[in-house]
Amino acid sequence: MQFSQTNYHRLSRSERLEARVNSELKSRLQKAAQLQGSSLSEFILKSAEKTANQVIREYQILKLSDEESLKFVNTIFNVSKPNQKLQSAYSKYRKEVLSGK
């Protein structure tokens, strides 16, 4: 999934976000923002967006390596029969659910 990086200069910012912070963290954030040559709020937004994208990725996407990709795809396309345990669990389910109706 690709997320485009928001351009904070151009974007109209209509919503407000507030957070309380202690002075030590605030000065550290300010210092980091200065080092990157951005304003404090720009810096905070950029960092939060980056983390948000990462969290969303982790929750919804699993990234495989070369080897894992190939192994996975081969299993997916290789039509293998459900094993015995799964088959009997399924028949049991069918029997039980249908007998209730």
């Binding site: 919804q60 996407i61 070369d66 990709s69 996975f72 299993t75 997916i76 396309f77 049991k92 007998s99």
Partner: protein, 168 residues
């Protein structure tokens, strides 16, 4: 036994407060997050209860998920319209109340989830069902039914939709 039970989408009618499966995270999820995620359409939550009571005995969650692939040969890429992503369905959580454990309710919920995922795959296109095993015990549970690991230590396992199709 299961003829007196029903599995249905979580709603306000259900009694979730007494639910205790022994894994705190899964209890808290049901009580504090499940209905919000349903409202926001992030996750679908299905619950099992006795037909004569709204007390929840077990539940599972379904959501859409993607596998990101890399460096596959062209002939395989051609079969995958969304490459490098491959759409899948995720059973993120599956839990049974302690008082009802050992009665194969987890298996019943798993089959229910597989059938539902299969039906949904017809509409949204999904190549596999992924499960998030929370620990080694649940990992064993899924492996018993043919789920495979992505990598050795991973707690995420998968079962191909083709295999589920053969089942159903």
């Amino acid at each position: 036994m299961f003829s007196s039970y029903a599995v249905e989408p979580l709603s306000k009618e259900h009694d979730i407060l007494g639910f205790n499966c022994g894994v705190k995270e899964l209890d808290i999820y049901l009580k504090e997050r499940a209905s919000q995620e349903v409202k926001k359409k992030i996750t679908a939550v299905y619950v099992l209860h006795r037909k004569d009571s709204k007390k929840i005995i077990g539940y599972y969650t379904l959501s859409s998920f993607s596998i990101e692939l890399i460096n596959l040969p062209d002939e395989i890429k051609k079969k995958l319209p969304k490459y490098p992503l491959l759409p899948a369905s995720l059973i993120g959580r599956l839990a049974v109340d302690r008082k009802f454990q050992g009665k194969k309710i987890g298996t019943h919920l798993l089959i229910d989830a597989l059938i539902r995922s299969y039906r949904l795959s017809k509409e949204i296109g999904s190549f596999a069902v992924i499960v998030d095993a929370k620990n080694e015990i649940t990992k064993k549970f899924y492996k018993k039914y043919g789920f495979k690991q992505f990598r050795k230590k991973s707690l995420k396992l998968y079962l191909s939709m083709n295999t589920i199709e053969k089942l159903i």
